[in-house]
Amino acid sequence: MEKNQNNILEEVTTSDYKYGFHTDIEMDLAAVGLSEDTVRFISAKKNEPEWMLEFRLQSYRHWLTLTEPTWAHIHHQAIKYQDIIYYAAPKRKKELTSLDEVDPELLETFKKLGISLDEQKKLSGVAVDAVIDSVSVKTTFTDTLSKYGVIFCSFSDAVQNHPDLVKQYMGSVVPSHDNFFAALNSAVFSDGSFCYIPKGVRCPVELSTYFRINAANTGQFERTLIIADEGAYVSYMEGCTAPMRDENQLHAAIVEIVAMKDAEVKYSTVQNWYPGNKKGEGGIYNFVTKRGICKGSHSKISWTQVETGSAITWKYPSVVLMGDNSIGEFYSVAVTNNFQQADTGSKMIHLGKNTKSTIISKGISAGQSNNSYRGLVKVIKRAENARNFSQCDSLLLGDKCGAHTFPYIKAENHTSIIEHEATTSKISDDQLFYCKQRGISSESAIGLIVNGYAKEVLMHLPMEFAVEAQKLLAISLEGSVG
């Protein structure tokens, strides 16, 4: 006879992380711990100009005055910031001019992840800036992009080659004193991506970056800066998988987006870092500050995220709607299983007139996990006719997990219209039986139902991501549903 649902749900917890492998590559490491010397070491390693070092040092000094935030609905052991190695880079034997020169083991890693750095990407129209641990290994399509005047490179390269742009915009959306983790990142960030789309240019390819945490005991602190100048458009994809690791790893990234007048930026993430084992040991601690500013009128920033990984996710991609008639969007699917904890959501800050924002959040909890939506919709006095629609749905699998919603609304203008809808549901026995009666196994049925539930969000992902995301949802809940 058929297994009862709880048994099936427990099996979910027995499915192992499928991306748990580890590449042995010689690493160039900083000493353990964090001090001004560490900051100087990192800056020197990267051959940074004085202003950059100064930015880091100021951030570091400010960080020392801060304490970790405690308001999130998460619990973890104290992070020992002095036990972390703050810089790791694959040792370069020499300058690389072609793929053939890339460490074969590294290429193998990418292959396992399904990332091809070769010409196939060109055919699929994707330019890739692959980041392993801290240093960009290879950037493709720079030539194609440069024809359009698009700058797409590692953050380090941008510091060297486009210092004016970096100086102008770095920290302008997420100031280094914004929060504890932002300050930490600003002090020790290793690398990341930089992207500038000039006036009136519609970026011809989807830009994508794969981040990957690879060295044991190494925190990863990327920093991404995307600037879309007037009338520009870009779609940017960030995808992550990380190898298995026993100790918890800290990850504190910053993403800043600037959209000028009439510009549009679409930022998509699939995050699948190691979530820890079924007992709740290990896994990535993911404390990320992502924020965009719609600086000019009629600009638009759209965040779409599929979060299945990490032991702890602390992440609130936000949009500051400064320009009149600007639009902010947030579409999210967050899956937690076993002992994962997610506290995620969005902030929409309406400053301009006729600004519009949409928040669609779909939480899926299984095992003994906790999944929280936390959001803020703020409308200031002068933001006439601001509109927001928020929808926060929770889907529970089994009876040991938790779903929580913390929506905050602050409206100072009476012409604003703010709507908030929330639902909580379970996959019903009726749905499961209905699927099974058609010959669909429990596992496939859960995948089907969950993907149906998340469809509203998945449809906002670029095609190649959507397929991956659908698989990921099914894999993350393997054994838990039919």
Partner: protein, 248 residues
């Protein structure tokens, strides 16, 4: 095709089916009638393998094999189809996606490769026409926002796509207006073949004006108390279930 022998089923210790015997051969249409609460739906669910029902005695032989140890999905893959009295909504899952998943899982069970997309879509088209269904059905989410009639038509459509050996239609006529009823019945008749069989569960004679059964059974208080030809349905309609009650 199907033979049920002395089937006794309890729910939470209460006996619902008290010794059912039923023999259905390939090519036949059987109707099971009876008042509410006599165990008709229980019988359908037990054959399909739904949990929560305790089989205390008897066996269900389907295509020569006792299926009581098989899971619901295995039974489905063996060729058993249940048309639900209350079809379930699955938000966000299109009928196309749902059926393709179902067909491919059934093919996998039989050791076959997934159905090629072109072939699948052609089949969808063919069956839609057969059942006179609207074009847009396929892209809608499974049963979401469907009217009662649409849900039932969708059940018949799934049956047409999955081509089961044995289909059990549980109160498929309930909640249908006369046009929908006719479409459902026409579908069932068109899908009728010498190598498949259908069990129609209903408590009105009305459906049987459109689907002519070979055998009619009357289920009462957990037992089949009467079996006969299609005239039995008419007799029931005329005399009412009180007649059965007084006879049993």
């Amino acid at each position: 095709m199907l033979s049920i022998r002395n089937l006794k089923v309890s729910i939470k210790g209460k006996e619902i089916l008290k010794g059912i015997n039923l023999e259905v051969k390939a090519g036949e249409v059987h109707a099971i009638m009876g008042p509410n609460g006599t165990g008709k739906s229980t019988l359908a669910y037990v054959i399909a393998g739904r949990e929560g029902y305790e089989v205390t005695e008897g066996e269900i032989i389907f295509k020569g094999r006792n299926i009581l140890d098989l899971s619901p999905e295995e039974r489905a893959c063996e060729g058993l189809f249940l048309g639900f009295q209350y079809p379930v909504e699955i938000p966000g899952v299109s009928i196309t996606n749902f059926l393709r998943t179902a067909i491919n899982e059934q093919r996998k069970y039989k050791g076959l490769d997934p159905v090629p997309a072109v072939e699948f879509l052609a089949k969808m088209e063919e069956k839609k026409q057969l059942l006179e269904l609207q074009e847009k059905l396929a892209s809608r989410s499974v049963n979401e926002g469907f009217s009662g009639g649409e849900k039932k038509k969708n059940e018949i459509f799934q049956m047409a796509m999955l081509e089961p050996s044995l289909a059990i239609l549980d109160e498929t006529d309930s909640g249908l207006d006369i046009d929908a009823l006719r479409i459902v019945a026409t579908g069932v008749n068109k899908l009728r073949r010498p190598d498949n069989a259908t069990i129609v569960i209903t408590h009105y004679q009305r459906l049987l004006e459109y689907i002519i059964p070979d055998v009619v059974h009357v289920l009462f208080d957990g037992r089949i108390v009467k079996s006969g030809g299609k005239e039995l349905a008419l007799l029931l309609e005329e005399k009412g279930y009180e007649w059965i009650r007084s006879e049993s």
